[in-house]
């Protein structure tokens, strides 16, 4: 089937030519399940951290978006305590022209540019809005505490 062929193709490309700061490795027993390690973008409160994510390609991928979740605890207005990510391309703005690579790059970009106006974690977002400096400090603390291995 052309579509699972696509998964293979994407996987090959991810391994052959990984995006900078992103490492995505498929499980050996399940090619639809990826372990992702993402380094925190520089100039961001997450700089220096390395974050673990899990990525799963549903059966009808790429007709539906991949499921992505942070495994590492992270203090970010668009990421909740369970690691779920509020990102439009993972939801209604998904297009089959997007790929694993573009999704992960988008998540990396989200780390660089938190958007407290469209929050998933309300308390964090409020903190971000009320006192951005303080929130960034907390994010830095969390990064140091949880994302350093």
């Amino acid at each position: 089937m052309a579509l699972s062929k696509r998964i293979i193709k994407e996987t090959e490309r991810l391994l052959a030519d990984p995006a900078p700061g992103i490492q995505a490795t498929p499980h050996e027993d399940n090619l639809r399940y990826f372990d992702v390690v993402m380094s925190g973008p520089s100039q961001s409160p997450f700089e220096g951290g390395s974050f673990k994510l899990e990525l799963f390609l549903p059966d009808d991928y790429p007709m539906t978006a991949p499921k992505v979740r942070f495994l590492t605890k992270i203090y970010h207005p668009n990421i909740d305590r369970l690691g779920r990510i509020c990102l439009d391309i993972l939801k209604d703005k998904w297009s089959p022209a997007l790929q694993i690579r573009t999704v992960l790059l988008s998540i990396q970009a989200l780390l660089s540019a938190p958007n407290p106006d469209d929050p998933l974690a309300n308390d964090v977002a409020q903190h971000w809005k009320d006192n951005e400096k303080d929130a960034i400090n907390t994010a830095k603390e969390w990064t140091a505490k949880y994302a350093h291995e």
Binding site: A2, P62, Q99
Partner: protein, 1133 residues
């Protein structure tokens, strides 16, 4: 109630032998005992008036009383006095004069002897003959009557004379000397024979029974005072209203004959002078308010009109003119001759149904009939000096009306619904000794009569300005703000508008006023604040949202509610149409003595919408909900058709409690009338078609519509001809099979592609020809062909050495991308990767954005989207598409053999190949660069685009004018936009896909940005209210099926506010479907005109095909044939 009656002076001289006049007691002459000496016309002997102004009066006298006129023509001062008494109305004056002559004569013949007693005064006046002197001193008989000892005292105060009029009656008796000039005859109503109807017919009467009941003549007669024999009968024009008044005991009449034919034969004409009186029971008192049912309203008004009563006071402005105009304007004169004066018991189910059917469909429209009737007679107020432009005449009328409403002073004026009417004038009043109590008060809207001046129980000054959209309501209000400023500096005008109009109001208020005459601020937004202590602005503009928010939060702290405004104006007042909403409540809580509502649609759904408006205006008593419900809502509520007859009956009873009729039909009519009357008092409404002084209120600059015929270029002709041949073949196939009408939609689609091809062949290639919908079947586009058609003179500038990307360099990125894609496609190489499967594209399918996918992948994806109910869109750029727009690329090597061997029907590739044989195979490399360059140079403008550009360059751009370009095809709009942009002509864009906010941005840009010369618009996006008067050029690129739609498009520009002549140009390509469409259009216009013509003529047109004519009744057949004919015309067959 009547004042105490002074002791009659002439009691001693009352002739006891005189025939008793029936209950004629004229209280109006109280206290003017001398009047008999000064006004009895018979004494005015000396010399007849020679004043030319009196000629009509004298002529009338001469006709009516030839003997009298010859012997004792009245003097000039006498004539003048009667004219004055008649309020300038000739008829009334003559009538009064005749009356007095009659009385003088009567007195003379009744008591000659008494004359000597008064002789000194006569001689003092040096009158002529003794007999005249006698007449001079003769008291008027109505005074005598007051002294008749036999009369019960109570009667003396029971009726008061309100006026006199002349009437022609018909004798109903025969004999000699039945009539005498000196006798006053009583008037009575002939008793109606009681209608005996079986019970069943009372419930379901036959229609004839209804007719009889409602059209039964109302007979009013006058009788011999002594014997009671009927002598004469009034004509229907009088008896129709006299009858009800007599029935109800509201009024009474007496008659003095003017002509006394003798011997009298039945049917003879008797001209009589009728005196009209109001009985005591007519007056509304705290204990007697039974008259407030409207039943006497019209008859009373007819009576006052007949007596030529001119209101001495009116709570509301009345039209200029005499009594007739006034009463006509009140709407009480038109309907009476036809209005059945049926007794209350005659109502029944059948008439109810009629009434419902009659009222409901026209209900909403009819509410404003009366409102619109009165506008023509309004005077004008001049434009306030502090405004910077002058108002149009109809706007000045509005200003006058608005001002008159605001200047209406509570306390100084009486109740706005009442009219003050004089009693029959006493001579004292004429001599300047006005008797203030000599008037009574009549409410022409419900028939209430009062002796005391009705007090105003409302402080409200304001109303509803309901001019149709586009007539300048804002400007009229601005004029009012200027014309009627607050007396106190601290008071301002508050304007409440929908948020979207906030800016518009502010700018219009400022733009219409001279600098420093108006200080406008808007009260809006988060940090809003009004500086109450500093200099207050003259106008504060805020929104419904703010009003409601502040009302909900803390009204006492809000500057909107804690102060009294000079004036409050609600724009788009339908916002408060539901009186239960918070917004409506909030608006009603705003305090201001002057309250105005602006709306173009005062009634949105039902009449109750008006209640909220009236409530805002605080227009007592209608502003009380109980009152409104009782008098308007309940009577007018439709009876649910599904309810059982028992429920219906219950409902009727509920309604009938008000109107005393069994079924509510009269209640409905009365309620509707009440609304009409109410609205005519508080609302002014003009439409664009309103005519004032014989001219429409709007005169627009000229409009010049021309058709510009164009010839197709050779390339276009090639494509078009091929396409037309194709469609014609299909059409004739349908014709032969007789399935034209069942394939009507399909054929329309064929014609649509022809029409699009006229605009620009790109339009059809872009979306493929066949409309079967399925991708597998969709026609294939011959890419090479496509490029050739729209590449421009590629051969003239050979650039073979350049690589594809280089060639595309000067073009826009999209073109670069396009060329890249196309070149890749042409290459048949694998550079193009399908974004879905990440493999090289197989069976490429192109989106209009030129993103290419594998046919299978994209089909799969689109099917998924459809399954989820999501709109189709390009996966890469998310541009929405329809499947029709997809292009399936087929390589020449594949199609060429197929095309020649067996052309599949409906395939563009096939016919295109046939129409113009494929060029000899070229080296692949050359082909690539060639094609890419062509594409990169953008699409060649079509004939129409070239013509449009030429037109704009010649007529629009040099003059700094603006132009609206209409097309029906969004693709064409795209092309126009691209072209203009690349030519450096600024343009805005309006089409159906844009959100409202986006449209407003575009419109503002077009209106305000001088560089935006063009508006490229699809008509469907141009809603009716759209004002495009900033432009005065219109180009219609393609003809509409319906001429009226084109007209509408033109009207966006050619409407109020347009100051320059409008030029409309329609582009039509010669020898194409467009030209033939014009023919069909013309035929349609004719047909519409013919609909009004007699049916017989309409059936002749369609017999051409030789089929037997089905006759005029076979309308559907006609319609079908007509459609077929149209198609034949369109295909040029």
């Amino acid at each position: 109630m009547p004042r105490p009656h002074p002791p009659p002076r002439l009691a001693a001289s009352a002739p006891p032998q005189r025939a008793p006049t029936p209950a004629v007691i004229d209280l109006t002459s109280d206290g003017d005992g001398n009047d008999s000496g000064t006004t009895t016309p018979a004494l005015t002997q000396s010399s007849a008036s020679t004043d030319p102004a009196h000629a009509p009066f004298l002529a009338a006298i001469a006709v009516l009383l030839p003997d009298h006129a010859r012997e004792r023509a009245p003097r000039a001062d006498v004539v003048a006095r009667y004219l004055l008494r008649g309020h300038g109305n000739l008829d009334a004056a003559v009538s009064l004069y005749l009356d007095d002559v009659q009385r003088g004569t009567a007195a003379l013949s009744a008591n000659l002897a008494r004359s000597t007693a008064s002789a000194p005064r006569a001689t003092k006046r040096a009158a002529g003959s003794a007999s005249h002197a006698l007449q001079q001193t003769q008291p008027r008989p109505r005074h005598e009557a007051a002294q008749l000892p036999s009369r019960p005292p109570a009667l003396e105060v029971t009726r008061r004379k309100v006026g006199e009029f002349m009437a022609t009656t018909y004798a109903v008796a025969r004999g000699s000397n039945l009539l005498a000039l000196d006798v006053i005859y009583p008037v009575e109503r002939q008793a109606q024979p009681a209608k005996k109807r079986p019970r069943t017919t009372a419930v379901f009467p036959s229609s004839s029974a209804v007719d009889r009941a409602t059209t039964a003549p109302c007979i009013v007669r006058f009788t011999a005072p002594t014997t009671g024999t009927a002598l004469g009968r009034f004509e229907r024009t009088e008896s129709a209203w006299m009858g009800p008044l007599l029935d109800r005991g509201v009024a009474s009449f007496s008659v003095a004959p003017i002509t006394t034919p003798s011997p009298l034969t039945t049917g003879d004409e008797i001209i009589v002078q009728v005196s009209a009186y109001l009985n005591e029971s007519a007056w509304s008192t705290p204990t007697n308010d039974a008259k407030f049912d409207g039943q006497s309203r019209v008859p009373l008004a007819r009576m006052f009109a007949a007596c030529h009563l001119v209101p001495t006071a009116a709570g509301l402005p009345l039209p200029a003119g005499g009594a007739d105009q006034i009463w006509t304007s009140l709407g009480v004169l038109d309907d009476v001759p036809d209005a059945p004066t049926k007794p209350a018991e005659s109502g029944d189910e059948a008439t109810t149904e009629n009434a419902e059917q009659k009222v409901d469909p026209t209900l909403l429209a009819s509410v404003f009939d009366k409102v619109q009737q009165q506008v023509e007679q309004l005077p004008r107020a001049s434009t306030p000096e502090s405004m910077c432009f002058s108002l149009r005449p109809y706007q000045e009328q509005a200003l006058w009306w608005l001002k008159s409403k605001e200047e209406f002073q509570a306390g100084q004026h009486m109740h706005p619904l009442f009219l003050g009417l004089p009693f029959f004038p006493s001579t004292a009043a004429i001599d300047g000794d006005a008797d203030p109590a000599a008037s009574f008060y009549f409410n022409p809207f419900d028939g209430e009569l009062l002796l005391d001046m009705p007090a105003v129980d409302t402080q409200t000054r304001g109303g509803i300005l309901a001019d149709e959209m586009g007539l300048g309501k804002t400007i009229e209000m601005l004029a009012l703000i200027h014309a009627n400023p607050a007396k106190k500096r601290s008071r301002a005008t508050l304007v409440v508008v929908p948020m979207s109009l906030l800016g518009q109001w502010e700018s219009e208020l400022n733009a219409g006023s001279l600098p420093n005459t108006l200080h406008v601020v808007s009260y809006y937004g988060q940090g809003r604040a009004l500086q109450l202590h500093a200099k207050l602005p003259t106008v504060v503009v805020t929104t419904y949202g703010i009003v409601q928010t502040e009302f909900d939060r803390a009204p006492t702290e809000s500057p909107l509610f804690s102060r009294v405004w000079h004036r409050v104006i609600l724009d788009e007042a339908q916002h408060i149409k539901s009186h239960t909403t918070q917004t409506a409540k909030a608006c009603c809580a705003i305090q201001a003595p002057h309250r105005w509502l602006l709306t173009g649609t005062p009634i949105v759904n039902h009449l109750d919408d008006l209640y909220s408006l009236v409530r805002f205006l605080q227009y007592a008593p209608w502003s009380q909900h109980v009152f409104w419900r009782h008098h308007i809502s309940i009577p007018l509520a439709p009876v649910p058709p599904t309810t059982s007859s028992k429920m219906r009956a219950t409902f009727r009873v509920r309604v009938a409690t008000w109107a005393n009729d069994e079924n509510g039909s009269e209640a409905r009519a009365a309620a509707l009338e009440a609304v009409q009357n109410l609205m005519s008092q508080i609302m002014i409404r003009r439409t664009k078609t309103t005519v004032i002084n014989g001219e429409p209120i709007l005169t627009l600059p000229t409009k010049d519509v021309s058709v510009q015929y164009l010839d197709m270029s050779e390339h276009e002709r090639d494509v078009y001809d091929a396409l037309e041949t194709h469609t014609k073949t299909k059409f004739s196939h349908f014709v032969r099979a007789g399935t034209v009408l069942s394939n009507y939609t399909h054929i329309l689609a064929l014609i649509m592609s022809l029409r699009q091809c006229c605009d620009h062949p790109w339009l059809i290639l872009q979306q493929t020809f066949a409309r079967s919908g399925a991708l597998d079947d969709s026609a294939t586009v011959e890419l090479q062909k496509l490029l050739e058609r729209f590449g421009c003179d590629a051969d003239a500038t050979p650039d073979a050495g350049a690589t594809t990307t280089d060639a595309a360099a000067p073009a826009a990125p999209s073109n670069e991308f396009l060329s890249q894609t196309v070149s890749n496609l042409l290459d048949q190489g694998d550079q193009n990767e399908c974004p879905l499967c990440l493999d090289p594209v197989t069976q490429p399918t192109l989106f209009p954005c030129f993103h290419a996918f594998c046919h299978d992948c994209i089909t799969d994806y689109l099917a998924k989207l459809a399954q989820r109910g999501e709109p189709s869109a390009c996966p890469v750029c998310r541009r929405s598409v329809t499947e029709d727009e997809l292009m399936h690329v087929v390589y020449k090597s594949e199609i060429a053999p197929a095309a020649f061997s067996s052309p599949p029907e409906g395939s563009l590739a096939s016919w295109a190949s046939i129409a113009s044989p494929p060029p000899p195979a070229a080296p692949a490399a050359a082909l690539v660069s060639h094609a890419a360059k062509q594409v990169a140079k953008a699409r060649t403008p079509s004939t129409k685009l070239v013509a449009l550009l030429a037109y704009l360059r010649a007529e629009v751009v040099p003059h700094g004018a603006k132009c609206v370009v209409f097309s029906q095809f969004v693709g064409m709009l795209d092309l126009v936009e691209d072209l203009l942009r690349s030519e450096g002509i600024g343009c805005a864009r309006l089409d159906g896909s844009q959100a409202q906010a986006r449209r407003e941005v575009e419109l503002r840009a077009f209106r305000e940005d001088a560089t935006k010369t063009c508006l490229v618009a699809s008509l469907k996006a141009c809603n009716v209210g759209l004002n495009l008067t900033v432009a005065n050029h219109v180009v219609i690129l393609d003809p509409w099926w319906n001429h009226a739609v084109e007209q509408q498009a033109i009207d966006r520009v050619h409407r109020i506010g347009q100051t320059r002549p409008v030029r409309v140009t329609r582009f039509i390509l010669r020898d194409t479907v467009e030209e033939r469409m014009l023919k069909v259009q013309a035929a349609k216009i004719e047909m519409v005109a013919a609909v009004a013509a007699p049916l017989a003529s309409s059936s002749t047109a369609n017999t051409a095909a030789g089929e037997p004519e089905a006759g005029v009744t076979a309308r559907p057949e006609d319609a079908k044939r007509k459609r077929l004919d149209d198609l034949n015309v369109l295909f040029g067959m």
